[in-house]
Amino acid sequence: MAEASTVTADRPKHLHPHFVSSEQQFDAAKMGMWLFLVTEILLFSGLFVAYTVFRIWYPEVFSHSAELLDWRLGGLNTIVLLASSLTVAMGVHYAQTNERKKLVRALILTICFAAVFMIVKYFEYTGKFAHGVFPGVNFDPHGTAGGHDYAAYNIPFAAQFFSIYFVMTGVHGLHVLIGIGLFSWIVIRANKGHFSSEYYTPVEITGLYWHLVDIIWIFLFPLLYLI
């Protein structure tokens, strides 16, 4: 204990009193984040299991209904999210190398990519709603668009496919919105010079969260749009 009290004199500002060292604090925060990410994975796995069960029951309905989803928009969003993951990884790199301006720029780029993702999602959703493709009991496809006669997609269990689509992409989109909020906060702090190679825990663990959101989309894109 005497040894610990001598250390307190030169404790860095970011170090909370209940941690021995910055290293211990960093490791604890990071493991906490990984545990949280596991709960996130299990949250989404419930949706993936629902998808799998219904797909195995009605495979032809699922592949037929998926034709209504535009793989080009889904592919664009995949590229946008992958790029945002790159900029986040770059951001962590710049935090570790004390390049503040580049860190801020990388995080702003991330927010921009995330915004593009949500804008594309907005057009996808409104395009579906305009033709009566709603989740749940209001499912009533009608009209024509993009060479598709929507009424032809009003087959049994197509509503289940679109409900699963809306819930999975909706919960994922909510995570993207939360990510935009988190990164806005991190950008403000980075701009104030709160982070350095000595202390960049918030950048690191928000980055982990963002990569997980990317991974979820990596699975959603082929499952919903392609196969």
Partner: protein, 129 residues
Amino acid sequence: MAHAEHHITPKKTLIQVFVALITLTAITVFAAQMDLGPLNVPIALSIAIVKASLVVVIFMALKHDNRMNAVVFLVGAVFVVVFLVLTLFDTAYRGDLPNTVEGTIMEEQAEQDALRARDPGPTPVPPSQ
């Protein structure tokens, strides 16, 4: 220098992983355009798993991280598989009763009762409701 030992992933590696991810996305879209029949789903899922692994190992830097975090992640992944497989043991093997048996359960039971009445066998079975 508490953070001196943290692994710093070089920019070059990050960009290479990004290029690999984009290439794999192009491959999965291309593979989906041509109908490979029963291979469609396994191919798309394999590519997605490779992409996710790249993100986890390099972008999330699990490769150079505390091993405990890898254990946490892998235990989570194992439980996703348990969740999926045990659910499918139920749902994938459910018979569609109305399609396999014609007529109602009452009719079926009456038929069985009639068969038992005709041929009780060596040890008579107590008649069911």
